[in-house]
């Protein structure tokens, strides 16, 4: 039997995240983009823009499309679902999406493995 074990790593205090804005973090050599929306939800996706290859997703504009919380690539504006990492404009393009949680001490943690 294989256990699906997730290892959460501490990133920063939740207050460090500006509402409706992203920031990048480096976890075991993996670049992730963390977002905090204005309703308090926190999402973690890959920081590399799959279209351009540049590590810039954390600098995109946060918004919504219908009920979906989104981020737009700052380079060419393709829009991604923050929950799943799926690109809403280009079929078959995805960002990795990572589990993220806020501890009782208001610290953000992410699991990349």
């Amino acid at each position: 039997m294989i256990l699906d074990v997730q290892t959460f790593v501490t990133i920063c205090p939740v207050d460090r995240l500006e509402p409706d804005r992203g920031i990048a973090a480096l976890v075991d050599g993996v670049q992730i983009a963390l977002f905090r929306t204005s309703d308090g939800e926190i999402y973690a996706v890959g920081n590399q823009d799959p279209i351009s290859g540049a590590y810039v997703m954390s600098r995109g504009i946060v918004g919504s499309r219908g009920d979906t919380p989104t981020v737009a690539s700052p380079l060419h504006k393709q829009v991604y679902d923050l929950r799943t990492g799926d690109c809403l404009d280009v079929p078959g393009v995805h960002l990795p999406a990572y589990p993220v949680r806020v501890t009782d001490a208001s610290v953000v943690e992410v699991a990349v493995h």
Partner: protein
């Protein structure tokens, strides 16, 4: 390959070239064009714009085409239809098909003195240049001929500063197009402009003065009119001399005789445009010529098109007066009835010619207001769509403009210049998915020549159920202009407040930056304060321009391109210490590339300390005001272009706008700063400054239009202030000034009314808004460096603030670092780490 030789490169000849090249997909034809003039085809219809600030390039119709052998300044001298060759001074050209497109020449009545110095015709750009240089320093001019061309020539004289006489043999102005009452109304407009009109009288002689040049005209009514120069605009005649000499038959009143296929008596020899007499009739308008060019192009490629005859309707704006005539304007149909409308107060005259049962529209004349022209012209030959007086009522009356259009049959021509029918436009909308006017223009050519049918194209889109949405995005149903007014009037200070009351959802990358720009325009506060920070695109967020590999470029402001050696050295040292790629930009600044997010404050600290400030190269805002050297150093300069460019750049720095703004100041008419390719450009004159607006245009390059002349510096600054604020308030998201002016109802004239004549009573408010901007300006980088909270944003990683992004690496090209390109795996990446000078890097 078969050889096509075209004699003449006027508007119709050029259209023929384009039509053949577009259809000839199998490259059946080689095309040679023999042109008499030294410049390629230009828009002769808009010739008079040359005196209103347009240059020869603005009128150009020619696009380079390697498949066409265009031989400028090489007129055809003889045609041998038996040997099938054309001879020029340079050689002979054998042909498989030959087209005459030789146009017409101005008719000069055989009056004594017609060859005196100072007597001109009005036909080519060379003529206009000769007129312009002769007019300098002279005070009175006369035009022989009160038709369309004569009135254009009179306007040209006016614009050159001469008091002007018009002499017309017929009892009224524009006798071909308008009736007596219309001519009388037109005369009132023309006289109001200071032009003296003499009708019902001919010119019997042109008299020389002491210097041997023309000095006066003797008229048939005995009067003598003093004139320093004379333009003869008494009509045109087909240029058929070459064809006559080649033995081709000509019409009874001149013109190369052709049938409805535009073919002469000799096989494979055609004639099109003003030199052609189709079944004996010459057409002096460009639209029938275009149609003939299309017929010949079709025939050359194996088609069977014929020329159906042409609608001689015309709509003009002469000396600022709308004049239109369409269908049977003079009521030549037996038993026809006239319905007329005359309003001396608003100076509108309109006439409809109806069939004897008053049910069918046959034609009409409009003077003073021609807004109903497109619908009326398209309705000729059809049953009236409304009572005649309703149709005549000028703009403002309660009439549904779409009603007439809906009633039109599909075969009716909506665009007569390009012969595009209502059916073709409807099919472009439904079958080719054209959802707006530019798409219809690109697809059908409708609306691309005189533009008078553009309102009908909009109405057709609406009638066909294409909603012309102004909604910014899914979060707001409003246009940018509407949101601007809402934010201003309701004094809204945040995106969330605006969204809560007027929008839905959370916003997106379209509405957030647009609202950020609106808030910045109205509050002029620090753009990254509080919630406003979350609205900014990455460039504004980091006050730098993002590049393809996620690094940023840094562009300090260098007003007017003027910089001290000390500052140049600082830029060089900063770039060297941070290993930045440097390049001089197109706007006279120095761009430093390859800075990582966490380096930006370190770089800017050194630049701000050296006296630099933000260049706002990252924002939708004023970029640079370029300048030439100006009168300080240049031996030709007539004003201090550098001083003005510096002053204007400092005045408008930091101004947020719907699109980036660029400007330039040239110190003389040589235009070394290329001011006419800018959103607003200034060119020095002997008497002050000329202001041009609406240039640039982006992917559709455009020259700016002359907006005002000989302004003092104070007048100039006030006019630009108002222009900019009015643009910022009323333009659409990402709409450049060129497109914005085109979108204004009434275009440039309307803009002049609003910001010069204060027609909307807005000017005081516009002045105040600019004054507020100038007072409240603060450098964004200095403000950022002063605040630790703001600086905290500039980290590569929130959990490893000092770690540089490991994905960023550079290679070296021509001695400078550049991003490693995807296709350059064979190159050895060079990691260029932290700044070499770390001791100065501390901001703590």
């Amino acid at each position: 390959m078969k050889r096509l030789v075209i004699i003449g490169n006027g508007m119709v000849g050029q259209r023929l070239v384009e039509a053949v090249r577009a259809r000839d997909t199998a490259a059946e034809w080689s095309v040679t064009v023999l042109a008499e003039e030294s410049r390629p085809a230009y828009d002769r219809v808009k010739l008079s714009a040359f005196f209103d600030g347009s240059s020869a390039e603005d009128l150009n119709l020619h696009t380079p085409d390697s498949g066409v052998d265009l031989r400028l300044g090489e007129p055809a001298l003889a045609v041998d239809t038996a040997a099938r060759v054309v001879t020029t001074a340079a050689g002979t050209y054998a042909y498989d098909a030959l087209v005459f497109a030789t146009g017409s020449y101005p008719f000069v009545p055989p009056v004594p003195g017609k060859d005196l110095p100072g007597v001109f015709v009005y036909r080519t750009l060379d003529d206009l240049e000769a007129i312009r240089s002769y007019a300098a320093g002279r005070s009175v001019g006369a035009v022989i001929g009160g038709g369309l061309l004569g009135l254009e020539a009179a306007n040209a004289m006016r614009l050159l500063g001469l008091s002007t006489h018009v002499i017309e043999f017929a009892p009224r102005l524009m006798p071909v197009q308008v009736d007596e009452a219309g001519g009388a109304m037109l005369r009132r407009y023309v006289e109001d402009l200071g032009v003296t009109v003499h009708t019902g009288t001919g010119t019997t002689a042109l008299n020389a003065g002491d210097d041997g040049a023309v000095a006066s005209l003797s008229l048939s009514d005995g009067a003598v009119v003093k004139a320093d120069m004379v333009i003869v605009a008494a009509g045109i005649r087909p240029r058929d001399d070459l064809a006559r000499a080649a033995g081709l038959p000509v019409g009874a009143r001149g013109g190369i005789l052709v049938d409805a296929t535009c073919t002469t008596e000799v096989a494979d020899v055609y004639a099109v445009g003003e030199c052609a007499a189709v079944d004996g009739v010459c057409y002096g308008l460009v639209a029938p010529g275009y149609a003939q060019a299309e017929v010949v192009a079709d025939r050359l490629l194996g088609g069977a098109a014929t020329f159906p005859g042409a609608d001689m309707s015309t709509k003009l704006k002469l000396l600022g007066v709308d004049v239109a005539s369409f269908g049977d304007a003079h009521g030549a149909t037996e038993g026809c009835l006239d319905v007329t409308f005359t309003d001396p107060a608003t100076r509108v005259y309109a006439k409809l010619v109806l069939s004897d049962d008053a049910k069918t529209l046959l034609g009409g004349v409009l003077v003073g207001d021609a807004t109903s022209y497109p619908t009326l012209r398209a309705g000729v030959g059809l049953e009236l769509s409304a009572p005649p007086l309703t149709l005549l009522a000028p703009a403002g009356a309660d009439v549904d403009p779409g009603a007439g259009l809906a009633a039109l049959p599909g075969a009716a021509q909506v665009c007569s210049c390009n012969a595009v029918t209502k059916d073709q436009i409807v099919s472009a909308i439904h079958e080719q998915g054209c959802a707006d006017v530019p798409a219809i223009k690109a697809c059908t050519r409708a609306g691309t020549s005189c533009g008078s049918c553009v309102p009908m194209l909009k109405q057709l889109l609406t009638l066909e159920g294409v909603e012309q949405s102004k909604a910014l995005c899914e979060h707001f149903d409003h246009s940018r202009q509407e949101l601007f007014d809402i934010v201003r009037v309701r004094n809204i200070r945040s995106f969330s407040a605006l969204l809560a009351e007027f929008g839905r959802g959370r916003g997106c990358d379209i509405c957030k930056p647009a609202v950020a720009s609106i808030l910045a325009s109205l509050n002029t506060g620090y753009v990254l304060e509080g919630e406003q920070a979350s609205l900014q695109d990455t460039n504004d967020h980091f006050l730098a321009n993002i590049q393809r590999n996620g690094t940023y470029s840094v562009v300090p402001r260098i007003p007017g391109g003027e910089i001290t050696p000390e500052k140049l050295i600082v830029i060089g040292e900063v770039a060297r210490d941070f290993n930045l790629y440097t390049k001089i930009t197109g706007g006279q600044r120095i761009d430093m590339f390859g800075a990582r997010v966490e380096q930006l404050p370190l770089i800017w600290k050194r630049l701000v300390d050296a006296g630099f400030e933000s260049g706002h190269a990252y924002g939708k805002s004023l970029r640079t005001i370029k300048s030439c050297v100006g009168s300080t150093w240049c031996r030709y300069g007539v004003q201090d272009s550098v001083g003005l460019a510096v002053a204007l750049e400092l005045r408008y720095r930091g101004l947020r706008s719907p699109h980036k703004l660029k400007s330039a100041v040239s110190g003389c008419a040589r235009e070394c700063a290329e001011a006419r390719s800018k959103d607003f450009g200034i060119i020095a004159t002997d008497n002050g400054w000329n202001l041009y607006v609406g240039g640039n245009g982006g992917f559709r390059p455009r020259h700016a239009d002359l907006f005002a002349t000989d302004l003092t510096t104070e007048e100039l600054v006030r006019t630009i202030d108002r222009f900019l604020i009015f643009y910022i308030r009323s333009a659409d998201r990402l709409q450049r000034t060129a497109a914005w002016i085109e979108s204004l109802d009434g275009g440039l004239d309307h803009l002049r009314d609003v910001i010069v004549h204060d027609s909307l009573g807005l000017c005081a408010e516009l002045d105040e808004a600019m004054a507020r901007h100038v007072t409240n300006y603060a450098d964004e980088w200095a403000a950022t460096l002063d605040d630790p909270d703001r600086l905290a944003r500039f980290v590569s990683f929130v959990n490893a603030p000092d770690a540089p992004d490991p994905s960023i690496s550079f290679t070296v090209e021509r001695g400078q670092p550049v991003p490693v390109a995807d296709d350059s795996a064979h190159r050895q990446p060079v990691l260029l780490g932290m700044p070499a000078v770390t001791s100065e890097g501390s901001l703590a």
